[in-house]
Each structure stands twice: as structure tokens, then as C-alpha cells.
Subunit: 203 residues, 4 copies
């Protein structure tokens, strides 16, 4: 396999990228200045050196110094009584962008696959291990903030079961994000579950 | 204008139908048996004779006899303490399909246009006029069940203002459908308002 | 079934219309003035009275008087040496809009279904029966102008076989529309057949 | 800017990639094994070392040895009488996949922007400079194989003008790919130019 095909096939492994777009990436890089290719290669290698997984929330971050936890976990202004469990780093970022949450985070690393029930990469043990220290700092509620789809729901139910004995022992709540009409929803097209939730959570 | 063009241009006035699909409707009717065309024409004329607007919820219905109100409004089993105000007949049908609401309905007839603030066809007066008899039958809560979009929100706020004096005088609640994650929503793509509502209505 | 459901289910038989849009059509008609419903019903019934199938090209048309053939077939300025065989009335209209064809037309009424090989409604016999009179008027070429898809291609091949003995006896050509790059096509996304045709028909 | 943001913003410069997908690429790389990141970085740097622009057709290729021209340009079996001028490497690949062309290629490097009339990166001079040697080897026809869109058409017309004096002096043809119905086209939706071309190139 020649060099163009080799790089094309590497890009094909990127999420959502097929052979045509992979080929276009390679053409883009071929026409780009050498400096861009060097910068890109360096930035990719730098991920290994300069990016760390936060020991608090488990997300990836790029530290300025040798501290082991991220800016959010280190921030003394955040509310220690709340812990949001999200599936992915991108979900944490989305909640931050909403400016409506001031608690702590834990990134679970995904959801359970309904096809295989595989939990590959899910950090449930790390979450459970972190509970006692968090309770000591004042934890009062864990908000399971997983996607509103079957895999998210299945993972949420399993997580709630696993958290139940800890919640009872340490007297914290386990809640789930509210369901209802999303912005833009029309009743006519809403599914029965969404309508039921919207009715139940009317205010 | 010839007969084919005339019928095409009538179909073009149907919601969501452009000239090409209107033309296809006419071709379909041209090839259809005469009996289908006769049945369709009769069914359209029948709307004028056999369809009535319910004096209770204001939706259109097709009565078997000369009763002035629809099956839902006549049903003594429905819960008189709840009244859901929806925009369209189709929204009423969606709530019925969800099997999660057992109260009464009122079809407002649309939402206020943000462009023009026009309330053409909105049945606010009819709604207000119906309140005292509904209170007498036990009304305790009006659920404003309008779409979760800017026009729905604007209409809901205006409606809440108009209902406020009645609500105070007759001691009923005015609520709105809960917002949150709709079925299928992922946090990463949810807008800040939806995330905020989902956090607020966590349970 | 009540009147609203009855009309909804009739609209559901329209091409491309599902239950939701059918319901929206009925709501539109319910809110429309009685005059529109009357006009629509009359226009639908009028198709039976006032629309005729042209004895020349077989398309539907709406005559002003009792002439049996359409404006295009009657037009002495059209070129009798050319006959375009199209699948649908809409294809005839598309060719007219292109202002690049001045010959005669024959509307075949569809294409052969590849699933069933059914020729329901195809007017091959009528086409063959019309050939001798057309030859007398000067026919020199039949252009098979069917869609560039598998069903169109299959129908075109069968039609060419059926026309072959007539073409030989009466010395007219049977051609097919040229294939190549359509406006907007990029080579990268073109299929091999289109590229091959584009190369063969380069000029 | 931290390392995650830095790599994200580099991926955002890739064609067709927005901030969200760029972020997803970085998450994918963060979770990937170190070996994949190393392989990717190496493959990107390798483009500079191991990929060369062919002196014949100007496309990028990855040579096994130090030969200056690509496999297609070196192949003695290809037809020297034909030269296809394409916009991009991907178009050359598409023509090869169609197995309907056996001549030589020249990759122009793009099309003229209609907005700016900029010809940045277009290799017209290199094309003109290559003509005399190609004529000596037997060139009889240049096929302008640019996309069937306004920019492709504009570039083709300019190219034809520039090639005209050479074509006259050296007695070769300049042709363009045929237009017509692409595979899958239906007449009803075809634009007038496509229908006109399809009629002109009927066979």
C-alpha cells in the first residue's frame, strides 16, 4: 500500500469518515504547506505527552503544569453537593455551555451497548470508588445526565441500581435529568413518552 | 385556464404542496376510476354538511346525530378538574394517543404569529367565556400545552396573563408542559434552554 | 368511520401522502371557506366531464370544444418527422419547458415494473397501431425518452425490440436520449455508466 | 490555547469539518492507543518525504523508487493519442474506476472561481508546456473532463480558447465530455440544458 492509501485508510478509521472524505483529507494535506503537516503531526503526538486524564472527573485535559486534575475539579467555587454523571467529555462541555449547572462532573466514558451489553471503557468502578471522598466533601445528589435514548436509559437504570446502596448508606439522592418537550418540539410529532413526561413535569 | 390547471392550482393551496406534487395529484385522479373521484368530491362536500365544531373543545368532529359536542367533551369519565389548551386538533389527537391525559381539552386554533402578532382564528374569547361553567364543574388546573417554539411560548405567556385574574378569582392553577430532554435527545446537541429545563425538572 | 376519517383515508391514497399530511389536508379544508370546498369538489368532478385523453399522444387534456386531440398534436407547425415516446404527461411537459424539441409526442403511460414485469397501463399497442399513419405523415425517427433508471432502460430495450420490424419496414430510426453528465454532476461522484456515456458522447 | 483545543482547531481546517466533528476526532485520538497516534503522525509527515507530484499528469503519487512520474504516465500500454484534462486527482481516479478510458491524464488542480476569477493553483502553463512533447508522441485529442457546473464550464471555455492555437498548429481535437441524462435522472426533474443535451446526443 502506498503512502497516500496508507494515510487515507488511517483517516477512514476516524468517526463518521468514509473513503471519499478520507481521500479528500489526504488531498488537502498534500496541497497544504509543509508547516501545516508538521504542526498537525506534532499536535497529534503531543496528545500523548501533554494530555492527561483528570483523576476527578476522568475527562481528558491539557494541563499547564503537573497537576493531576482539571480546572473544573480544582475550582473551589463549584458546588460539591452535586455530581453530574455524563457519558462523554462533549456532554460535560454542553452542560458548561448552558451555564445552568455549577456542581461537579464525572465522565462515565460511554453507555452500555444494548446489542452486546458490553461496558467496555465504562468507568463505573472509578465512580463508585470516588463516592466516599465525595460524600465527605458534602455530596447530596448524583444527577444521572445520560442521553435520552434506549442505551442511555438502560445505562441509567443499571447505574441507579449500583448507586442505590451507597445512596442509602450516605444519604444522598440519585436523580435523572427531566424529560419533556425539547426546544422546538411540536406536540403533534412528540412521542407518547415525551408527552407523558411533559405532562408529569408541568409546572 | 383549463380544467387540469384549475385543479392543479387548487391543490397548490393545500399545506405543503408545490406545483409538481399538485400536478401529480391531478394525474393520479385522472388515472383513478370515476368512482374514486366521485367519492372524493362527495367526501369534501360532506365536510360542510356532516362536520361540526364542538361547542366544548372547539375541534371539528363528525357527529352521528345532532349533538353539539364531541365524544370527548360528552364523556362523563373524563376528569373535569383538568383542562389542556392545545393549538390544533392534531395536538389533541397526539395527547390522546399518549394515553397519559384524562382531562378535558380546548383547541385554541393556532398560535400568535411573531411576525405580525396576528391572532387570526385564535379562540381566546371562547376560552375565557367557558371558564365559569368549567369552574362550576370542578376545574382546578389549566395546562397550557402549546408547542415548545417561540410562537408557542409567546402565545403561552399571553394566555397566562389573560387567565391570571380568572385563576385568582376561581382558585385554579395555570401550568405549562414540562421542558426537558425529548426521547432521543443527546446532551451534546441539546440547546442551553433544554438542558436548563432538564436540570430543573430532574427527579 | 366518521367523515373526517373517511376524507383522511381518501387523501392517504394520493401519491406520496401519509396519514399525517392527509389529516392536515382535512384540517385545511375544514377551516377553508365553504366556497373553496365547493370549487374543489366541482373541479374534481369536472375531470370526468371535461378532461379527455388525446387520441394522438394519449395524454390527458382539457379541450375547449369537442376536438379529440390536444393542442400539440393538432399544431401543424410541429415536426412530423420526430416522435418522442415519454413515460408520463409530466415528462412531456418537461421537454416542452426545455424548448429544445419541436416534434410529436406519445405518452406511454409508465414503465415496466422490474419486480413484476407488469405492463399495466402501458400503451404499447396504441403506439404500434399509430405507426403507419405517422409514417405516412413523414415519421423518420422515434426518440425513446424514458427515465435513465433500470425500469426506464428495461422498458426502452423492450420497446426497441418491438419497434424494430416497423423501423426496418418503414425506414425510420429508433434512438434513445443521450447519457452523460447532467448539469451539476461532478466526475468524482458520477457512476461508471455515466462517465462511459460522457466519454462516448464527447464532442 | 491548550493541546486539545489546538488539535481541534487544526482539524477544523480540514475540508467539510466543523468544530463538533473536529472535537470528536480529538476524542477519538485521545481514546485510541498510542500506536495509532504515532502511526498517524508518521503517515502525515511521510507525505512530505514519500509523496511526489508526477511530472506527467501532475497528480500526487507515492513512488517506490526515485522515478519522477506515476504508474499511469509510465504505462506504455496507455493510449498516447488521448489526453483527459481533469480538475482533481479524485476525478482521475473516478475515470479509472469507470474502466472506460485508456488515454493519458493531466490534473489541472481545480477550476476557476466564478466569484474571484482566481486561477490559484491551476496548472494551465504546465499543460501548455507539455503539449509539444505530447504531440510528438501522437496526441490527437484533448478531452476537457471538468465538472458539469458553472465553474467547470467557465474553466473549460477558457481552456478551449487557450488550447485553440495549439490545436490548430498541431492538428489535434479539443472535445468536452458529453452532457445528457445521468444514471438515475428522470425527465420531469431534469433541467432544460440537460434535456437539450440529451436530445442532441441521442443515438
Amino acid at each position: 500500500m502506498d503512502r497516500i492509501q496508507r494515510l487515507t485508510s488511517l483517516f477512514e478509521r476516524f468517526p463518521g469518515i468514509g473513503p471519499r472524505q478520507a481521500g479528500r483529507f489526504v488531498q488537502f494535506l498534500l496541497k497544504a504547506p509543509l508547516s501545516l503537516r508538521k504542526e498537525l503531526a506534532a499536535a497529534i503526538l503531543d496528545l500523548s505527552l501533554g494530555v492527561r486524564q483528570c483523576i476527578g472527573c476522568m475527562r481528558f485535559f491539557s494541563p499547564d503544569d503537573d497537576r493531576p486534575s482539571c480546572r473544573l475539579c480544582d475550582d473551589p467555587e463549584r458546588d460539591d453537593t452535586l455530581l453530574a454523571v455524563v457519558a462523554h467529555d462533549a456532554d460535560l462541555n454542553a452542560l458548561e455551555r448552558s451555564h445552568s449547572y455549577r456542581g461537579r462532573y464525572f465522565v462515565l466514558g460511554g453507555t452500555i451497548s444494548l446489542a452486546t451489553e458490553a461496558r467496555t471503557g465504562l468507568r463505573e468502578k472509578e465512580l463508585l470508588a470516588s463516592l466516599v471522598p465525595r460524600v465527605r466533601k458534602g455530596l447530596k445528589e448524583i444527577i444521572i445526565a445520560l442521553p435520552a435514548n434506549p442505551e442511555g436509559d438502560f445505562t441509567a437504570l443499571r447505574l441507579r441500581d449500583e448507586l442505590a446502596p451507597y445512596a442509602e448508606e450516605h444519604a444522598f439522592l440519585v436523580t435523572m435529568l427531566g424529560r419533556g418537550l425539547s426546544t422546538g418540539s411540536e406536540l403533534e410529532y412528540a412521542d407518547p413518552d415525551t408527552l407523558k413526561s411533559a405532562l408529569l413535569s408541568r409546572r
